[in-house]
């Protein structure tokens, strides 16, 4: 099957030919299959934001290519325009980008630009609003009268209404409280199930990414340092720490347990696995 996204030897040099020349991306290659959830982690300046802006043609690479469902996204203007609709990008703190008079108008902006009929726009806006839990009463309000968490939802709904096949979000839960974080992630999963969409999420929270993603892309200095399942990535605690990253606290507990001489698996990165692992160990000990 053709991967939904294929990135081949992508390079991006900022300010080339000046004293500020700086390699944002330095030969990045990877593939994403349709319906996957990919977490992107890396320290500040590792190239995460630069990378995601290439995936819908917002930035043009210095060299290398991005393929969407087998098609080179910069092939011609029409293809690039389509890629912008097919790959939805939610940037950091998207609530700062709200601008319309009502929530409804703001969410409608994207689908309207796609040239859809009024009826189709209306249908999509309502579906997107429902997906992120915005009530009918909020739709006629000014987005500026909403709380931070609600504004974030409106901004995400604005991208969902374009019904992208690939949804890329840069730290969608930053600054939200635990319940707000859990709600947004759940909304995204619902959208993914409805549309068989592919999700890519940049996050600084190892806990969050560990329980949410099925594949992790670790960037360092504009290169892919690891691309594997969370279990495999979080096994490499020392390497991650050297990169200025961390392993989830739960993984740290199991690594420490092992150091303390307990014979136990250390590829534990969610509470659920932790629970199972300890109970299995206890059972095992009981029958030994």
């Amino acid at each position: 099957m053709t991967p939904i996204i294929e990135v081949v030897d992508l390079k991006h040099v900022y300010s080339p030919g000046t004293p500020f020349e700086h390699k944002g991306l330095d030969g990045v290659s990877f593939r994403v299959e349709r319906g996957q959830t990919v977490g992107i982690i890396g320290h500040t300046g590792s190239g995460k934001s630069t990378l995601i802006q290439h995936l819908n043609g917002l930035l043009k690479p210095t060299s290398g290519k991005v393929y969407l469902d087998g098609t080179y996204i910069l092939k011609d203007k029409q293809t690039t325009r389509n890629a912008r609709f097919r790959v939805g990008l939610v940037l950091q703190y998207p609530e700062y980008q709200l601008f319309e008079e009502t929530v409804r108008a703001d969410i409608s902006f994207g689908p309207k630009n796609m040239g859809l009929s009024d009826a189709e726009v209306k249908k999509r806006v309502e579906a997107a609003a429902a997906c992120v839990g915005l009530t009918e009463a909020l739709m006629e309000k000014s987005p500026f009268d909403l709380s931070g968490g609600q504004k974030r939802r409106v901004a995400i709904a604005g991208v969902l209404a374009m019904e992208p096949e690939v949804l890329i979000l840069d730290e969608p839960t930053a600054g939200l409280d635990p319940k707000g974080r859990a709600d947004i992630l759940e909304n995204l999963k619902v959208y993914q199930r409805q549309k068989n969409a592919t999700l890519m999420i940049v996050s600084h929270s190892m806990e969050e990414i560990a329980s949410f993603a099925d594949q992790l892309l670790v960037l360092q200095k504009g290169r892919v340092a690891m691309y594997d399942t969370p279990a495999e990535v979080f096994k490499k605690a020392a390497a991650l720490q050297e990169m200025g990253l961390a392993v989830p606290q739960i993984t740290q507990v199991f690594l420490r347990l092992k150091e303390l001489g307990v014979d136990i698996d250390t590829d534990v990165y969610t509470t659920g696995y932790g629970l199972k692992t300890i109970l299995a160990k206890k059972e095992g000990a009981g029958h030994a």
């Binding site: 709380s147 968490g149 930053a174 319940k179 707000g180 507990v253 420490r256 347990l257 509470t271 300890i278």
Partner: protein, 287 residues
């Protein structure tokens, strides 16, 4: 114990927009923060954490009740400068807090405005930069630094005023794990080595677990108040108000539900691992 920050019967409401009713945040809130302590304030979005923080240096004034800062009533306009000098604030976004093109000039901004003597400013700026571990970057341009470094510059800018207390409103929300660690270590040092009173507002339970005291707020009220161990043991109570507990407590809590008997206050990675080891050893010894 000497008090540093004190809210007494504090009530506050944001003024109504377009003629509606005002939006109340607190009604009769009491909170006292001891001098030299490190207090973390938790709460869901809209619980009133940031509104409370803004009362501590007179950005907002109480509608009813009063807020006292080192014995100074924040309603006394004549004391405004002295209050602001004593309670420094650091906010979420480092880019919004940096004003100058050179790190040391940025740190000098506040003491210059306070009319501190130039020689004295030099000394304070150097000291502040050393305290946050950014001295070697003093001639760099702030916009080329990482988020964690910028946030430490913002903290240096505050401590160059020589405040008694520093209030940080989600200072790590925009930082990567390394940046977060740098800022937390800086905060801990200011508190432990320099005796500064620290109020840390955060959504990260693991950060709150580092404080001496955790205050959890919901809908403008204090729902839990105690040491991190006391507060995070109350898993159900915190969850009921949209908060959560550190991953360590969560694991122990779930294991207890599955029939084990583990101490919920084993908060740190080390304590949690030790508690688990002990429990596992006991169950194998029982056979």
């Amino acid at each position: 114990m000497e008090h540093s920050l004190q809210a007494e019967n504090l009530s506050f409401a944001y003024p109504a927009t377009d003629g509606g009713t005002p939006i109340p945040v607190f009604e009769g809130l009491d909170l006292t923060i001891e001098k030299g302590s490190f207090v973390a304030i938790l709460g869901h979005n809209g619980s009133g954490k940031s509104t409370l923080a803004k009362h501590f240096n007179a950005i907002l004034l109480p509608v009813c009740g009063r807020v006292c800062v080192f014995g100074m009533d924040t309603k006394d306009e004549e004391l405004l400068l002295e209050i602001r000098r004593n309670v420094g604030m650091v906010f979420q976004n480092p880019d919004n807090q940096i004003v100058a093109n050179v790190v040391e000039e940025d740190v000098a901004f506040a003491p210059e405005n306070l009319g501190v003597e130039p020689k004295q400013i030099r000394r304070r700026v150097d000291e502040a930069l050393k305290q946050v571990g950014m001295y070697e970057y003093r001639t760099h341009a702030p916009h080329l630094l990482s988020g964690g470094q910028k946030q430490r510059i913002a903290i240096a800018g505050v401590i160059a005023m020589r405040p008694e207390c520093i209030v940080l409103d989600e200072p790590t929300a925009m930082l990567d794990p390394k940046g977060r660690e740098e800022v937390l270590q800086t905060i801990l040092q200011l508190n432990r080595d320099h005796g500064m009173t620290v109020v840390l507002i955060t959504h990260h339970m693991e950060e709150a677990a580092l404080a001496d005291r955790v205050v959890a707020m919901a809908n403008g009220k204090i729902v839990c108040d105690g040491t991190p161990k006391q507060v995070f043991s109350q898993v159900e109570k915190l969850e009921a108000v949209g908060l959560t507990v550190p991953a360590t407590t969560r694991l122990l809590y779930e294991l207890n539900k599955a029939g084990m008997n583990l101490p919920l206050d084993a908060l740190s990675v080390e304590e949690c691992a030790q508690a688990l080891k002990e429990a596992l050893n006991q169950s194998s010894a029982a056979e």
